[in-house]
Amino acid sequence: MAHHHGGTAVKVASGTTRVALVGSPNSGKTTLFNALTGLRAKTGNYPGVTVARFEGSVRTTDGEIVLEDLPGTYSLDAISPDEQIVTQVLDGEDLSVATPDAVLVLLDATTLRRSLGLLAQVLQVGLPTAVVLTFGDELARRQGELDVPALQRALGVRVIPVVAGTRDDLGVLREELARPDSWQAPIVPPPVDSTELREWADSVLDTAGYRLPEADRRTARIDSVLLHPVWGTAVFFVTMFAFFQVIFTLAAPLQDLVQAGFDWLAGVIADNVHGPFGGFLSSALIGGVGSVLVFLPQIVLLFLMIAVLEGSGYLSRAAFLMDRIMARAGLEGRAFVALLSALACAIPGIMATRSLPSARDRIATMMAAPLMTCSARLTVYVLLVGLLVDPSTRFGPVGAQGLVMFCLYLGGALAAMGTAWLFKKFTGRHGPVLPFYMEMPSYRLPRARSVAVAVWDAAKGFLSKVGRIILVVTIVLWLLLNLPARGTSDFRAAGINPDDTTATSSYVLDHSFAADAGRAVEPVFEPLGFDWRINVGVLASLSAREVFVATLGQVAAADNPDSPTTALQQMQTPDGHGGERKLFDAPTTAALLTFFLFALQCMSTIGVMRRETGTWRWPAIAFGYMFALAWTMAFVVHSVVSAVA
C-alpha cells in the first residue's frame, strides 16, 4: 500500500483544505456537522450517482476549510450506493470524486469496540486522520470508562473528545481543523484479518482502560414499554394517529393566519391596481402562491415531528415493530422510514430509499412511495374533503373530516404496500439477498439545532418549489385561462354587458385556451364525473399536485371573484339528462379524491425517480400504472357513490 498514501487526486476548490467526515449512522455525525458549519452547508450530488453530498465551510482558528459530510456507514466494504461513495471519496486512485486532504472519523464512545473496526479500515487508506470521540457523557452516565490520552497513544492519531454542542469542545476541534496537514496516519496501519483486528482492538481498548458501558437502563426501561408486544404496538398506533391529528388541529389556526394575510394583500392590490394587470397580480400571483403557502405550517409541523422521532431514537423502534409487517410486502423495517418520509413528500421518500442496501427493495419502495399521502396531496384533500363533508359532522368525539382524511392516508399506505409487494415479486428474482440489520440507538433527547435544521431544510425546499415551479405554472395557467384576450367588442358581440364583471370573466374562461385543452380530454375523464374545469386542474396539477388547488381557485374566482370557495360549491354542470347538477357533488368529489390518492400527478417525483434509477423506464412505469390504477379506482368509487346516493 506504499503507493497509496497521501492520495490526492483532484481538488474541487483549489487552495481550500478539504476534510471529510466519516462515521457510522447514529454516531452524532449530522449534529456535529451542523454545529460546525451552521446553516452554511450546501447540498448537491456526487457525479454520476444521486447520493446527496453535504458540504459546508467551517471557521477554524486559522481561516476556513471545507468539511464534507460523507454518508453514514458501518464499513468501507460497501454494500449500498451510499457506502460506495464513502469508499470512492477516500480512495486516492478513484478520480471520479475528489479525495479530501484529511479525514475526521467520528467514534461513538458507547459503541467503541464496533466503531474501531470502521476506524481501522479508514486508517488503512493512509490519509491524515483525526478522531472525534462523541457521547463521552453518555459513556460516563452508563458507568463506562475511557482514558482519552491513552486511546490517542494507542491509536497513533489525534483524539478529540466532543460532547456535541458544547462550545469549548468545538473550540478545540476548530483549532485542530485549522491544521489538518499536521494530522498523522498511524505509523503501522491496523490489520485487516479478522483475528488480528480483534486482537488489535482488544489491545487498544485495554491500553485505553476502556470499560464497556452498562446496558443503558433508561433505554431498557423505555424499550420494555415501547417494544412490548401489546403496549408497544398500542403506543405505535397512538403515536402515528397523533401524528396526523397534530398536523390538522395544531396547524389550523396558523393556516388561517396565513390565509388572512394573503386575502388582505390580494384585497389591497385589487383595490389599488385596476385593469387586467391588477387581476393578474391579485388572482394569479397572490392568490396562487398564497393558496399554496398556506400549507407551510403543516409541512413545518410534519418535519418537526419526523425530526423529533428520528432524533429521539423512536424511528428505529417503529421500524423494528413494523419490520414483520413490511416483510409481508417484501420490504424491510427501514423502508418504513422511507414510506413515512414520503408522507411529507415523495421526493425525500424516494431519496430515503438509498439507505436500503438491496436494489430490489429500493425499486419496490420507490414505486410504492408516491402512493403515500404526501403533503401536496394534503392541500388537495383539504379542499375536496371540505366540499364533500360538512365540518360539523361528527362520529362521537371524532370529526368526520378527520376520519375521511385518516381513511385516505390509510388507503394510500395500503396501496403502497400492495404495490411494493407486486414489484418485489415481479422484479429480478436473481441478485444477492442482502442482510437486514438495524442499530437500536439509546434514547436521546433530540438536539434542538438538528431538529431546527431539518425543519428549515424542508421548509426551504418547499418554498423554493413554490417559488420555481408553482409560480411559473400559476402564471402560465392564468395566461391560459385569460387568453386569447377579449375586448369590449367581443362581449357586446356575445350579448354580454361589458360592465358585468362576473359575466365577462365567465365568458373569458369559457373561451380560453385552457378550456380548449380541458374539453379535449373530456372523453377520458367524463366517466369519472369530471367536467372540463376539473380537467384543467388535473392537467395543471401534473406540474405539482398543489397547483390543482390554485387552478380551481382561479377557475372559481373567474365565476365569482369575491368568494372562490362558495363558487366551487355552487358550480353547476350538465348532468347528461338535460338538467344541471352540482359539479362537486358527492360521486364526483369522491372520485376526484380517489384519483388524487392513486395518480402520480407530480413531475418533480418523476424527475427524482429518473435521477435515482438512472433510467426513464421506472418513472414511465410508475406514471403508467398509477394513472391506470387511479382512473379505475376513481371509476369504481364514482359508480358506487352514485349508486348509494
Binding site: S75, I79, T87, S194, R198
Partner: protein, 102 residues
C-alpha cells in the same frame, strides 16, 4: 473498486458447518437462542453469502464476540441482540447464519 475495498472484500471468515442434528433446528445459531441467553460467536454458516458475513462481522458479530439476546419483536422477528456494547436488530434469516457455541 478501490484498493482498500478490494482488500476488505477479500477477507475470509471462518465457516462453521452445523452438525447433522442441528441442521434443521438451528440450535447452534443465534436464531436458536431465547431472550436472555448468552453465547459467543464461532463463525458463519457455510452457505451464507460472503458479502453478508463480512458485513455481519463488521457490525460486531466477529468470532469470539459475546452476544446476548435482548428481545424479540411482537411476532418473534426481528430479534435484538447486544453485541460489542450496543444493540442491533437482525431478522431470523440472518441470525441463522451466525454460529454460536451455546
Amino acid at each position: 473498486m478501490s484498493l482498500v475495498s478490494e482488500i476488505l472484500a477479500g477477507r475470509q471468515l471462518p465457516a462453521v458447518e452445523a452438525s447433522q442434528a442441528d441442521a434443521d433446528t438451528s440450535a447452534t445459531s443465534l436464531a436458536g437462542l431465547r431472550v436472555g441467553d448468552e453465547a459467543a460467536v464461532t463463525g458463519f454458516a457455510a452457505a451464507a453469502p460472503a458479502a453478508t458475513t463480512r458485513r455481519l462481522h463488521d457490525l460486531g458479530f466477529a468470532p469470539g464476540a459475546p452476544i446476548s439476546v435482548i428481545r424479540k419483536a411482537p411476532l418473534g422477528d426481528p430479534i435484538v441482540f447486544r453485541v460489542a456494547g450496543y444493540e442491533i436488530a437482525l431478522r431470523r434469516e440472518q441470525a441463522k447464519l451466525i454460529r454460536v457455541d451455546a
